[in-house]
């Protein structure tokens, strides 16, 4: 794809790339609380505010709980709202994540993915966002700072789409992406503003029987966030699920549209396959790890091994059909999880992929690798070993252990 607008290359780390995208996205309210490794986002944004570079109100709240609440309330009032967090901060928001999605407030949040306590650990893994899997937020994971920048811009379009109206988390791996400097191609302020557009509101029927925009407006009074008893609650939840289904095609469309102005797109927006067409063995993973896996795949391909990667860019909504299509011909799949589901049968991504493939008449062997917890490095050698394991499974037609741990002392 060819870019249709002029772009400027800036040296940004992942957090700075996020802050820069927010700066360009005509955001009305940013409410946030500092936490490593997200802090650079709020620091950078505070600088923009201090220097008068943004038309945004920045609220430095006394907790993450209030940060998300303020964003939710601002969004209900009609503002475009953004926040950022990580780890314990996201865990503290837990209650309000459900309220935000239930109120259908299209808040966008960047998460610099980090391990959860205890023991205390500030480094990268996916425990924080995976623990919020069922909170009704769209979840996207990026591979590098460039994608962090691009995805934040896309996230506003996705969240605010009238067929979606759901909050979006964009996850970037703590330190690996949040603190690592990269060359990032940036669009002009005008191009981003145009792409994001102004926030639209769905028309709903108010208690007065009038059709009015869905926001807090004294001219069209509406009660938002009411109590719903067993006679209505269930329907609210079903509608959220419908919105999640709708998000699948909206994410694809926004990814495509963004490609037209930037020259960059990420697979179909949901899944980003690499060398999968004729692959016999494949690794499924999220986030920055995909870069390492792709490098290993290149080496294996040079040796004539038919290896491939499926990077899951969108984890919620889960692109089930895409996963099935991408992996139906593969003989053995390794799913990499950077978090644990204690007492479960493997990690959360593994559960999803194995479940998605269950209905295939003949599905591939599927094994799980738990890796990188608390920021532990995962090397190309370890990835190569995973592919080696997969080749062994294909040859022997035997899975010794469906869940393995990468680089762990046992």
């Amino acid at each position: 794809m060819k870019s249709v607008v002029k772009q400027e290359v800036l040296a940004l780390n992942g957090d700075e790339a996020v802050a820069y995208a927010v700066k360009q996205s005509d955001v009305d309210v940013v409410a946030a609380y500092p936490i490593t490794p997200q802090t650079i986002i709020v620091e950078k944004f505070s600088e923009y505010v201090a220097n008068g570079e943004v038309e945004t109100e920045f609220v430095c709240t006394e907790s993450e709980h209030s940060a998300l609440t303020a964003c939710l309330a601002a969004s209900a009032t009609g503002a475009r709202a953004f926040t950022a967090s990580a780890s314990a901060g996201l865990a503290l928001m837990h209650e309000m994540l459900f309220v935000t999605s239930g109120c259908r407030a299209p808040v966008v949040m960047a998460i610099a993915n980090r391990a959860l306590s205890a023991p205390l650990n500030i480094h990268g893994d996916h425990s924080d966002t995976m623990a919020q899997r069922d909170s009704g937020w769209i979840q996207m994971y990026v591979e590098n700072a460039q994608e962090a920048y691009d995805s934040i811009i896309q996230a506003f379009r996705i969240a605010e789409n009238l067929h979606v109206l759901l909050p979006v988390i964009v996850g970037l791996d703590g330190f690996t992406l949040s603190h690592t400097l990269e060359n990032v191609q940036t669009l002009s302020d005008e191009a981003v503003k145009k792409f994001v557009g102004t926030r639209q509101f769905p028309k709903v029927m108010s208690h007065e029987g009038k059709t009015v925009p869905f926001r807090l407006d004294p001219e069209n009074p509406m009660s938002m966030g009411p109590i719903a008893l067993p006679n209505y609650y269930f329907e609210f939840k079903r509608q959220q699920e419908e919105a999640m289904r709708n998000a699948l095609s909206v994410i694809q469309h926004v990814n495509e549209e963004f490609g037209k102005i930037s020259g960059r797109s990420y697979g179909d927006g949901l899944l980003d396959p690499y060398m999968l067409d004729d692959a016999e063995i494949a690794v499924v993973c999220l986030g920055s790890t995909a870069g390492t896996v792709k490098a290993v795949v290149n080496e294996l391909r040079a040796d004539g091994v038919k290896a491939g990667v499926l990077r899951m860019r969108t984890f919620r909504p889960l692109p089930v059909d895409g996963i099935v299509d991408a992996l139906r011909k593969v003989k053995a799949v390794a799913v990499m999880d950077r978090s644990m589901s204690f007492g479960g049968s493997g990690g959360p991504v593994f559960h999803e992929v194995r479940h998605a493939l269950y209905d295939l008449p003949a599905h591939p062997y599927i094994v799980n690798y738990i890796y990188g917890l608390g920021g532990r490095d995962t090397s190309p050698t370890q990835i190569r070993q995973i592919f080696e394991d997969l080749r062994g499974i294909v040859q022997t037609k035997r899975v010794e252990s469906s869940v393995k741990y990468v680089g762990l002392r046992e």
Partner: protein, 326 residues
């Protein structure tokens, strides 16, 4: 500092309600009366946000609502954070011409649980940041929505379902947290207490809280017949007795300067008019056990503590004349 707002009872009666009838509050509900009165004092377009609690639950059962003004509920501890978000959104949207109205006021409502306890962090943070909103605490002195559990606002000696008066313990052993004083200590521009019997005083204070630039806090006494085991017909009478006994004195602190309000000034200037707390306590079932030989000592404690607090308040208000118990 405040505009002159003159009104008659007729003016108020004729002003359209923003908190409408049809809600499912109990007979004699103090908070429902308080909310209706508060909404009579707004000066223009107003957005209300409500913590989880009785008033949220009785007035917003989907698909019905008692709110004729925009209203938002998100969670129990979030009334002040909601107000912060709404106020911030209005400010920037006005600046960017995304809304037409010149001025939209923001009122946050919470009960004692949502203010003294689970909501105090968000409240303190929002006040420290200086958001322009009025926070109204309707204080019915326990978690009534979940069935009368004790809160930081429950008074000494009250029997609740988590501080029951038993054979060993005479109800709640701890004091009511001085929440309004805590708010004054934030250095905020306007803090006041009010009671629905003195409706005119309440309305003026609501209007002042709205008019003041920056955060305002209004602590409103709100009897709960179910939780207090009191006669539903006596809620307003109780809200008068609480002031006459100086259990709940009425005052204002403008920029931290305390001043007694007229109904309480009467008790300061004519101490003989100050009633014994017994008169207030004996008409409520939650204090029934205090009128038994086993626990009657606590009655004396409550009178002593009430007098001490009253004296401290008089001092803060610059009134030197000691008020004697009638």
């Amino acid at each position: 500092m405040f505009s002159e707002w003159k009104f008659t009872a007729k003016d108020i009666a004729e002003k359209p309600d923003l908190f409408l009838s049809g809600h499912r509050a109990c007979a004699g509900c103090g908070p429902a009366t308080v909310l209706r009165l508060i909404m009579k004092a707004v000066r223009g377009p107003t957005i209300v946000t409500n913590a989880t609690g009785c008033m949220e639950v009785v007035a917003s059962i989907y698909p019905y609502t008692s709110w004729a003004t925009p209203w938002l509920h998100t969670a129990f501890e979030t009334a002040a954070a909601n107000a912060a978000g709404i106020e911030t959104a209005l400010k920037i949207m006005k600046k960017k011409s995304k809304i037409k109205q010149e001025q939209i006021d923001v009122i946050a409502l919470a009960g004692d649980g949502g203010t003294y306890d689970i909501g105090i962090q968000a409240l303190s943070g929002a006040v420290e940041r200086g958001h322009d909103f009025l926070f109204v605490l309707y204080d019915n002195e326990a978690y009534m929505n979940t069935g009368i559990q004790r809160s930081g606002g429950t008074p000494l000696g009250a029997s609740t379902t988590t501080s029951p008066a038993g054979t060993a313990i005479p109800g709640k052993l701890e004091h009511k947290k001085p929440i309004a004083d805590i708010m004054v200590a934030h250095g905020m521009p306007y803090v006041a207490t009010a009671s629905p019997y003195y409706w005119r005083d309440l309305l003026v204070k609501v209007r002042r809280g709205i008019e003041v630039n920056g955060p305002a806090f209004l602590h409103v006494f709100a009897p709960c017949p179910r939780g207090w085991r009191s006669d539903p017909a006596k809620s307003i009478e109780l809200s008068r007795l609480a002031v006459e006994t100086c259990i709940f004195p009425l005052w204002e602190a403008v920029n931290s300067e305390y001043q007694l309000s007229a109904p309480s000034k009467v008790m300061a200037l004519s101490p003989q008019k100050k009633k014994l707390v017994k008169e207030y306590l004996q008409v409520q079932g939650r204090f029934r056990h205090l009128f038994t030989p086993k626990y009657e000592k606590m009655l004396g404690d409550i009178q002593r503590i009430t007098d001490e607090r009253w004296q401290r308040l008089l001092k803060k208000c610059g009134i030197t004349q000691p008020a004697k118990t009638a």
